[in-house]
Point group: C2
Chain length 186, copies 2
């Protein structure tokens, strides 16, 4: 078996994982191309430049530029200080735990903030409406139902906030411990 064939066998084996990573990354809101880029870089020890990426994936440089930015936004890629080269260098985040916590905390915090803001505003408005003394009975009943519904839902958002805290603090590992190594990330 020639060296070339050996390399091809290795590449083929790695591609299975690259594809599965790209496939499941749709859950993190990235496109298949971006997922493929991450999967490719996941196996790299050294950093890559935009030009290397575009050659590797057979895509344009602006696409790589935007893909890299998208991956940086969800903390799956970091710009690393270029040694000799004047080009930007990037490395993939290989610690899935780190990624997991950063991603979901950010996601849930956004969900809590946007919805609690809206709920608070709506609650104020409904309470204002309920003050009206000429309020139609049907409207009042409807308004009270809506008010109760969103007020109840705040419990969920507060709970989500607490969950994020337990992720940030690392308390989650008391409940679900990490089997071995990789504990000392971040």
């Amino acid at each position: 078996m020639s060296k070339k064939e050996q390399l091809e066998a290795l590449e083929s084996a790695k591609n299975t994982v690259i594809r599965s990573i790209a496939e499941t990354m749709d859950l993190y809101g990235v496109t298949p191309s971006i997922g493929r880029l991450y999967g490719t870089m996941y196996f790299r020890r050294e950093s890559m430049t935009l030009d290397e990426m575009k050659d590797e994936l057979g895509m344009s440089k602006p696409s790589m530029s935007t893909a890299v930015r998208a991956l940086q936004e969800i903390d799956m890629m970091k710009k690393t200080w270029s040694k000799g080269s004047r080009k930007d260098q990037f490395v993939s985040e290989k610690d899935f735990f780190k990624f997991f916590f950063q991603f979901f905390c950010k996601m849930w915090e956004r969900e809590v903030k946007i919805n609690l803001d809206a709920i608070n505003q709506t609650r104020t408005e409904i309470k204002e409406l309920l003050k009206q003394n000429d309020l139609d009975e049907e409207v009042r009943e409807e308004a009270e139902h809506s008010l109760k519904l969103i007020t109840d839902s705040t419990h969920y958002y507060y709970w989500l906030e607490d969950l994020v805290k337990s992720f940030h603090s690392g308390d989650i590992f008391d409940l679900v411990p990490i089997p071995e190594k990789e504990t000392e990330s971040e």
Copy 2:
């Protein structure tokens, strides 16, 4: 203030929350239209038919049909047995806790399964390659690196599996308790 104006004020107040729900639901992989449908139905006490939905949102019936299916897939909507009507009736899931657990458990289980399957296959292939006695040194080193990388990553997937278990069992509530009511869901 006329009854009509009162109703409009209430609708306007509710719309703030409907919009915020629709906005954050992109995190759950649904389109804005589907998010708006869910937000609309969230405030409804009674079930809705496809025709009522299409009138309410000003969209076509096939769109409602597919939207409802998408929401059912992420457990945000249920078909409810029609009383008098022969049309299908649907109600939104209003318990966000229930939704949260069903959604993320399903999501994470899928991620674990797809990636562990791929990793196992790739591990077998790389180990097979490493058995070759005429293996080029550079290829061997590269193969061993890849093998170590994916083997380490299994710890993450096993941990994710455990996390899902603690969600399913309810153990998560020992760590992050629910403030008040809504505890007895599912």
